[in-house]
């Protein structure tokens, strides 16, 4: 690999990590604003114009607070857990395409600039799921190392929850994978863009509505967001797995959770909302302008998903634990299997036509 390509990848990594860490800061602000609006309040508006400097103030607070490590914790694991949280949430972005890849990619003096850190990974979606499941280690280790019963309960709940919801999550995307005949996220997007009847696009939400719904529900559970945030249920478990964490270690858990929300929103947009397909009009396949528009469309869809996730948070109350498990094992998994079988049958029947 030429030095040039190596540099491009480094720049992409720095850009993406920077952008998403910054995005997380503003997501926390957005979350607080939406929380306030849902309760007919105004929300943070004191720091800077419209409260726009609030994330900086929050970040400074996190960094400057005293970092307490209680004497009774298991020190190595206690310190490792937030690091795992943030690493697991960040490296998932390696295969997420942010813009045109492959032949569509714009070029700089003959070299294609692909909007993906690791372009053309055949098992892209498997990689994202594998990395996403690693995040559970952060929660379990954090809860266990804290040596606190509430943290431990939070960790336990989370482990059972994530293991249960991995199954419908994985099953729900299989339909899309079979239709697009690829595990590469870029290919799945390309398939959605190229197929479709007339002006109706072949977005995942239209060709796989049930899969989309199951994915959405499981994604909420995977990211530990309400209504499935049993691992940190404040009312029952104090703070859940992060009860004993303070300052930036707590901040890292927070960052990890929000990065997870971004990953899930990206997956949702790419798999089921057509990726960078800007409904109704056709972009040229080449050049920087179309590339920039595609990136913009994709980020807009991700933004909408993030807002939706926060909106749901203020709509649905938290599930009881047995309800959570019932939903996964008695409803989502059978439905996902049914969806899979129906998709398989239809694909087999219409193989020649589609």
């Amino acid at each position: 690999m030429a030095t040039w390509q190596f540099l491009v990848i480094l720049v992409k990594i720095v850009l993406i990590v920077g952008i998403f860490q910054g995005a997380v800061a503003y997501m926390i602000m957005l979350e607080r604003k939406i929380a306030a609006w849902a309760q007919d309040r105004v929300g943070p508006n004191r720091a800077g114009p419209f409260g726009l400097l609030q994330p900086l103030a929050d970040g400074a607070k996190m960094l400057l607070k005293e970092d307490v490590i209680p004497g009774y914790v298991n020190r190595p694991l206690y310190i490792l857990a937030p690091a795992i949280a943030i690493v697991a949430a960040t490296i998932g972005f390696a295969v997420v395409p942010f813009g045109p890849v492959g032949t569509d990619a714009p070029t700089v003096s003959g070299h294609a600039i692909e909007f993906q850190i690791a372009p053309n990974v055949d098992i892209g979606i498997l990689y994202v799921f594998a990395i996403g499941s690693l995040a559970v280690y952060a929660v379990i280790l954090g809860g266990w190392a804290s040596n606190n019963k509430y943290s431990f309960l939070g960790g336990l709940r989370n482990s059972a929850q994530i293991i249960s919801y991995e199954i419908p999550l994985g099953l729900s995307v299989l339909g899309m994978i079979m239709m697009a005949r690829s595990l590469d996220l870029g290919e799945i997007m390309a398939w959605q863009e190229q197929n479709g009847l007339g002006f109706i696009p072949a977005w995942g939400i239209l060709v796989q509505p049930l899969g989309c719904l199951i994915f959405l529900i499981s994604a909420f559970a995977e990211t530990n967001r309400l209504p499935f945030d049993l691992a940190e249920a404040e009312q029952e478990l104090v703070g859940g797995f992060h009860t004993e964490y303070s300052a930036m270690k707590f901040g890292m858990f927070f960052l990890g959770e929000y990065l997870h929300v971004i990953t899930v929103s990206f997956l949702m947009s790419i798999l089921f909302l057509g990726g960078w397909d800007p409904l109704f009009f056709d972009l040229g396949s080449n050049g920087w302008i179309s590339a920039v528009i595609k990136v913009g469309v994709l980020f807009f869809k991700v933004f909408l998903m993030v807002v939706f996730i926060m909106w749901i948070r203020w709509t649905l109350p938290r599930f009881r634990y047995d309800q959570l498990m019932n939903l996964a094992w008695k409803a989502l998994i059978p439905l996902a299997l049914l969806n899979l079988i129906v998709t398989m049958i239809l694909l087999q029947l219409f193989r020649g036509i589609g």
Binding site: K33, I34, A36, W37, A38, Q39, D40, R41, V42, N45, P49, F50, L213, W311, I312, W314, T315, L316
Partner: protein, 208 residues
């Protein structure tokens, strides 16, 4: 009521259709409700937040804030040092030292030489107000009670009388002078209602 009482009505939970059992319509309904609130507060200006230091909250007429010691027509403290308020006080925050009234005060025998309320111990229940036979102690609508030390929060007679001077125009005494015209309770934010009137309430700054 017995179990076989003919008046007993048995209610069955409504049967849900298959679509309703997915709870999706209810979730959508909930999303509409929260969405309306979010949009209303975000763009419709329906947020009920009061931007406090710039915009003053006006408490309701029966709000129980800082105490005051009322004065009569001649500017004397109305209190007759009967100790009923101190006796009624569940928090024991009132400390009165009575003394024989000066001979020229013909309508009373005693007056409070010192009258101290520990505003930090007070639970603002209003029992002192109820107990007082001469309507000398009253709770005002002042809610922004702050101080930098505990000593500062122990209000003596002078301070309590100055609270009266501060609030007598906005909150007339319930009896005595000026003549009792008990206003009907009004909504807390209605500018015409009783309670302390902040001078700045006319020009409420826009919410950002």
């Amino acid at each position: 009521m017995k179990l076989d009482d003919p008046n007993l009505k048995r209610l069955e939970p409504p049967k849900l259709t298959l679509f309703e059992k997915t709870y999706l319509p209810q979730i959508l309904g909930g999303l509409v409700v929260t969405g309306r609130h979010i949009l209303g507060a975000a763009v419709g200006g329906k947020a009920i937040t009061v931007q406090y230091p710039e915009e003053q909250h006006v408490p309701s007429a029966n709000y129980r804030g800082v105490h005051r010691l009322n004065k009569d027509e001649q500017g004397r403290v109305k209190c007759v040092a009967c100790m009923l308020c101190a006796t009624a006080c569940p928090a024991h925050c009132i400390d009165i030292v009575g003394a024989t009234a000066p001979p020229e005060w013909e309508d009373r025998e005693k007056y409070p030489e010192s009258f101290v309320i520990d505003e930090l111990r007070c639970i603002y229940c209003g029992m002192c107000e109820e107990a007082c036979p001469v309507d000398a102690i009253e709770l005002t609508g002042l809610y922004d009670l702050t101080g930098l030390s505990r000593e500062e929060m122990i209000y003596d007679k002078t301070k309590l009388l100055s609270v009266f001077d501060m609030t007598k125009d906005a909150e007339p005494m319930q009896s005595g002078n000026p003549p009792a015209t008990l206003a009907l309770p009004t909504s807390p934010l209605e500018p015409e209602g009783p309670g302390p009137r902040p001078s700045s309430s006319a020009g409420i700054p826009p919410r950002s």
